[in-house]
Amino acid sequence: MIRAPRPGQSTARSRPRAAAALAAPVLNMTVLNMAVLAMAVLAMTVLAAVGGAAAAPRAWAAPEPMSHCSTSTGVVMAVSFAHWGGPVLRSCASTPTTAYGMLNQGGWHTTGTEHDGPGFICRVGYSGYQGGTQYPTPAQEPCVLTPPSSAYWTFWHAGPGQNSWSYSQAGATGYAPAPGSVELWVFGGTNLGGTSGSAVPTVSPASLRANNKAPGSAVKAKHQTHPGAHPAHPAARSTHPGAAPARGNSPGGTATASAPVSRSARADASSSPSPVISNAPPVAAGDSQSPSHGSAVPAVIALVIVVLLAAGAITAVLRRPRRAR
């Protein structure tokens, strides 16, 4: 029996029957449509909230030249590009900060995965190394899903005074280093204990740590007396890990330091098998483009299609013989 598709009449008639619980499929379709509707409403609300809500301002630690880090102040962060034949770049940040914050300031940039968000460090790049190319490149790792456990940026840290690395049990956004500690990012893989694998660090924390006792005032003065005295000189000076660590002799701190790092580092890397440690002075952050929220038109079109399909489904159910409903 085909019912006249007059909505008012049909609902008036079907109600008492629905109450009799003989018409379970009516509920069935109601649940279906409610689910579709609820999802649509949810999507709308969330997206509307996004449009209106403003990002909460956050205070991040300031990037500093290496000379500002000492055994007890600041945090040294090092990233090893040895996987790509590059140097170990280190820079300094004032505390408090997070590992994520340090990787995204003073010329450093990271990319997360689409699946895990920016909190999962998938690519790392420094604007003074290879023109800011982030490694691994999209050809090597698409950064859509979580990278495999054999090839990702492993995170190591050593507390103040410690000379052994520990594989971090916390993520980049969850780890807040103590002043005077050292962090290291190495690309590769490791076991859970951090004892074997391609990513186990070959440089010691001591070779990366800033060894001046006080945040180098002398260096600062020296730096102030010769601002940009050697423009052709590589801003990032290299030291070999075996050699005595640089005692705050970095002339870094100038925003002009950029490209030379790669050249000097490459030259050194070819002569020595062990990775070269270079300073990566803070670079003025480029103008960050304001995030655009895109257009809502596609969402509206999709919702219209969904509503049309739902209407078709409701019509199909209403036109079923009553017994069958």
Binding site: A24, V31, V36, A53, G117, G119, S149, T173, G174, A296
Partner: protein
């Protein structure tokens, strides 16, 4: 069942009133699996929403009145549960807040010892994290609903008929298992209706007991009846197979399955040489094939009223395949639109080609013939039979 007399085919069938018949179950399964493939390729909320809508539309248009066809709402509830669980886990186990995130609220943080700091309980919850959990859950929910739609649209008992003969023992077990859930639902409905007619109302544990006992009783009785019916039809007979050949078949099958497992591990896991994965997979497949051929020899089957495979089946499978192919290839549109980034938050784009491909899948509702009428008006083909008999009739080797 043959198409109307005269010119058979799509044009004639679309023009006139089509005879109701059940579509080949394998066609529905292929269609649903193709849509699931498409859903697994994307995390775009608009595309997922459209797949949900297409599934609901086709199910509403083409489901039968059989007991298994009434279960779609359970799959929907299950899908919602998946999303809720994912969001709850993302909220409770903090994943870190990135700069620029929109923090919704903060839960009190439970301190964890240093060696366990990889897992943090409580903490700030950002909108981005919740949305990412919703999208992840929605994708899984979409897969669930695809399988649910296939279960709703296709007759599971008839689908088993296409199993190779060597698997008929497995098929028997699967049939019994598949018929349990719909039979339980049916039993519960019947017992509840009987209770209501007798004026027995009430809720709580007493009502539960009054329903559960007859239902269990009913289920046992039905199982015994089904077992007796199957026994009478010659199930469990080993045929001309010797003990040695049966053992060889079993050994080949087990070895083949182990090879397939090893191969899958080798193909998916990192750090295993690719040769091991491919070799294991090939060896496993070969062993399984050998077991199927060997086992199939000892089972002689007769086919009773085979399901036809005509143009509606091709059209349904094709409409599903279009969406799977378009979303898997990633050509002709921006592949990044399939997985829109949540950082920074923005409206998702609607890639035209995938959206059209998903809409093509909705054509299955038109391509498939109308389902046979329900119990009130028995159709020519799919007249309902009491469950145990229906189960047996649909099995390979059964004769009526």
């Amino acid at each position: 069942m043959s198409p109307p007399a005269g010119r058979p085919g799509p044009l004639r069938a679309l023009g006139g009133r089509r005879l109701p018949r059940a579509l080949h179950p394998v066609a529905w399964w292929l269609w649903a699996i193709a849509l699931a493939t498409a859903a697994s390729r994307t995390s775009n909320p608009l595309l997922l929403l459209m797949i949900f809508a297409v599934l609901g539309f086709v199910v509403a248009m083409r489901r039968t009145e059989a007991p298994w066809a009434r279960g779609y709402r359970f799959y929907l509830l299950m899908a919602l549960t998946v999303i809720v669980i994912r969001v709850a886990f993302r909220v409770v186990f903090e994943t870190g807040v990135n700069p620029g995130d929109h923090v919704l609220f903060a839960l009190p943080r439970l301190p964890t010892p240093g060696w366990y700091s990889g897992v943090q309980i409580g903490g700030p919850v950002s909108l981005e994290a919740v949305l990412s959990a919703v999208l992840d859950g929605a994708r899984l929910a979409c897969l669930l609903c695809c399988i649910g739609a296939a279960n709703t649209l296709a007759n599971p008992k008839r689908a088993l008929r296409v199993l190779p003969g060597a698997l008929y023992e497995l098929g028997t077990a699967v049939t019994v298992a598949l018929s349990v859930a719909p039979q339980l639902v049916e039993s519960v409905q019947r017992v509840r209706r009987a209770r209501r007619l007798r004026g027995g109302g009430g809720r709580g544990p007493r009502a539960l007991r009054a329903i559960a006992v007859p239902v269990l009783h009913d289920a046992l009785e039905r199982s015994l009846r089904l077992a007796a019916a199957m026994d009478a039809r010659g199930y469990g007979r080993t045929g001309p197979a010797t003990r040695a050949s049966r053992r060889l078949t079993g050994l080949l099958m087990l070895g083949g399955l182990a090879g397939l497992c090893l191969g899958a591990y080798g193909l998916l896991g990192a750090g295993v040489p690719a040769g091991v994965g491919l070799g294991g997979f090939a060896a496993g497949a070969a062993l399984c094939l050998g077991a199927l051929v060997l086992g199939g020899r000892r089972v002689s089957r007769s086919r009773y009223r085979p399901d036809p495979w005509r143009w509606p089946e091709w059209a349904v499978v094709g409409s599903g395949a279009v969406s799977a192919i378009v979303l898997s290839l990633g050509a002709g549109y921006d592949p990044a639109a399939l997985n829109p980034s949540l950082y920074p938050l923005s409206w998702p784009a609607l890639p035209v080609l995938p959206a059209l491909a998903i809409l093509v899948a909705a054509l299955a509702a038109v391509a498939a013939p109308p389902p046979p009428a329900g119990p009130g008006r028995p159709g020519p083909e799919e007249a309902p039979v009491p469950a145990p008999q229906a189960a047996v009739a649909a099995l390979p080797g059964a004769t009526r």
